[in-house]
């Protein structure tokens, strides 16, 4: 009575069903592939977007340039004063030589700055990190009040706009994924339903000789799972190869962009796509046969 002893029968029945509906099965698998690929692309896109935002967030700070003639003692006093402003998390003194060095390291590979600018044009500065991006304006305002501070810069407004955009994309994407999921489910359900209708006599006879509803249902659920897993598998292949191809091009064109290459994240995305395929098929098979079983009662 156990599932295992019947499994062979169920799988054989499921394969029979897929073969019998031939072209329709192909179409269903194709649509699963397309939907899952789009779904996976969305996940990858979101992962990258998140990456960019957190990368930018980590660089979120206020730069306070100090007057050129400020001596080291006054600088230290100023540092303490700034660190006492509410909302400030960390203050770091950035001597102009260090700033110049890191600036050159970041962009120097592209052009030899020494040819353009002979002398370090940067003033000494404080790099100030705040607890949350919302605190940026008020902290910046407070810092600017010190007479030794010549200029205050921060990119808070941009950050806020990006965050809003990311939220919008995230919500839109989630809705899109959900729609995609249901559209695919509908197609899988209807495809399997065709094979169910073709086997109505089989189902009737199964019930007549004493098959339980769950026994009748299993082959169709497995049929759905097989189609879903196949669709997921090919979807993952498409995603993997196309993403790798895209990465190579982006990396050479926009080297500073923090592209997601972490294999853990990618594995997680591919796994999500595969599992979605399986669930889609399982649900599709279950729903399609349940309708027939209901009609019979």
């Amino acid at each position: 009575m156990s599932l295992l002893s019947n499994l062979e029968f169920f799988v054989v029945e499921a394969l029979r069903g897929i073969r019998r509906s031939g072209l329709m099965s192909f179409v269903a698998i194709g649509i699963v592939i397309i939907s899952l690929t789009v779904f996976g692309m969305f996940l990858i896109f979101m992962a990258n977007l998140g990456n960019i935002v957190s990368y930018m967030g980590s660089r979120l700070d206020i730069v306070a340039y100090v007057e050129k003639d400020l001596n080291a003692d006054s600088a230290q006093v100023l540092e303490v004063a700034i660190s006492q402003i509410p909302g400030v998390e960390k203050v770091a003194y950035v001597p102009k030589d260090e700033a110049w060095k890191s600036f050159r390291e970041e962009f120097g590979a592209k052009l030899d700055l020494k040819d353009v600018i002979a002398e370090n044009p940067l003033p000494n500065a404080f790099s100030i990190k705040v607890r949350t991006p919302e605190l940026l304006p008020q902290v910046a305002e407070s810092v600017a009040k010190f007479s030794d501070v010549s200029e205050v810069r921060y990119s808070g407004k941009l950050m806020k706009q990006i965050q809003t955009l990311v939220d919008a994309v995230r919500i839109g994407g989630a809705i899109l994924s959900l729609l995609l999921f249901f559209a695919t489910l509908l197609i899988v359900v209807n495809t399997i339903r065709l094979t169910v209708l073709a086997r109505e006599t089989d189902i009737y006879i199964m019930q007549l000789v004493g098959a339980t509803n769950s026994f009748v249902r299993w082959p169709f659920v497995i049929e759905g799972v097989i189609m879903g897993v196949l669709g997921g598998f090919f979807g993952i292949l498409i995603l993997k190869f196309s993403y790798e191809a895209v990465i190579i091009r982006i990396k050479s064109a926009l080297p500073f962009l923090p592209i997601v290459m972490d294999s853990n994240i990618l594995t997680f995305i591919y796994l999500s796509v595969g599992i979605s395929g399986m669930l889609l098929g399982m649900l599709g098979g279950y729903i399609s046969v349940s309708r027939i079983l209901k009609e019979k009662e």
Partner: protein, 227 residues
């Protein structure tokens, strides 16, 4: 074994298929249900394996009150009732062997047992040689033998045959009735619905006559018509 108490069946469209039917059938009996088309024979059979529920009354099969059975228990009831149809209801894409084995597979029987019982059933109906044929390659009589093999493969105590010879010529009809008789002698309660006068007169068994949904005659060693 089988008991109907004040059973009526009125279809939603108003057709009165059975009206206050009382019937008791003992273990291992052989009963003919006779009557013209529309008399309620098929409805009576369908009530027994719970393809239909009565509008009124109780149906008891093998001590189980079919009327009050939960729908998830119906499969287990049906494993105790074999059903033979006029149109055989075989699966066209499956071989003779698979058609018969199917009835055991759904019960979750182990493979070795499926094989043994299927072979035994095919042997009983003399169809062992055709086990790898497909239904379309068989004659009507052969198809009916397969249908019977499927109905008895899990040794049900009750066998229902609804017009089992309706599509068969007289010689084949005779052979099928002989086969059903053989199965009845193997301790199976047999109910055959038919309007074939010659087989009823020949077999001389209990005859229950229906007309317009009512039992008008119940006679031991009866013939088709009251004489």
């Amino acid at each position: 074994m089988i008991e109907l108490k004040h059973v009526s069946k009125i279809y939603p469209n108003g057709v009165e298929a059975l009206l206050d039917v009382n019937l008791h059938i003992g273990k291992e009996e052989f009963v003919f249900i006779v009557g013209p088309s529309g008399a309620g024979k098929t409805t009576l059979m369908r009530l027994l394996y719970r393809e239909e529920l009565p509008s009124n009354g109780q149906v008891i099969v093998d001590r189980v009150n079919v009327t009050e059975l939960d729908s998830d228990q119906v499969p287990y009831l049906r494993r105790n009732i074999g059903v033979v149809f006029q149109d055989y209801k075989l699966l066209s894409r499956r071989t003779v062997y698979e058609n018969v084995a199917f009835a055991l597979q759904v019960t979750g029987a182990p493979r070795s047992q499926i094989r043994r019982h299927t072979m035994q059933a095919l042997e009983l109906v003399s169809m062992l040689k055709r086990s790898s044929s497909f239904p379309e390659e068989l004659s009507g009589g052969e198809k009916q033998r397969i249908c019977i093999a499927r109905a008895i493969v899990n040794n049900p105590p009750v066998l229902l045959a609804d017009e089992p010879t309706g599509n068969l010529d007289p010689q084949t009809t005779y052979e099928i009735m002989e086969l059903l008789d053989k199965i009845n002698r193997r301790n199976t309660t047999l109910i055959t619905a038919t309007h074939n006068k010659s087989i009823v007169d020949m077999m001389k068994r209990r005859v229950v006559q229906l007309e317009s949904g009512r039992i008008i005659r119940d006679q031991q060693l009866g013939t088709y018509s009251n004489s």
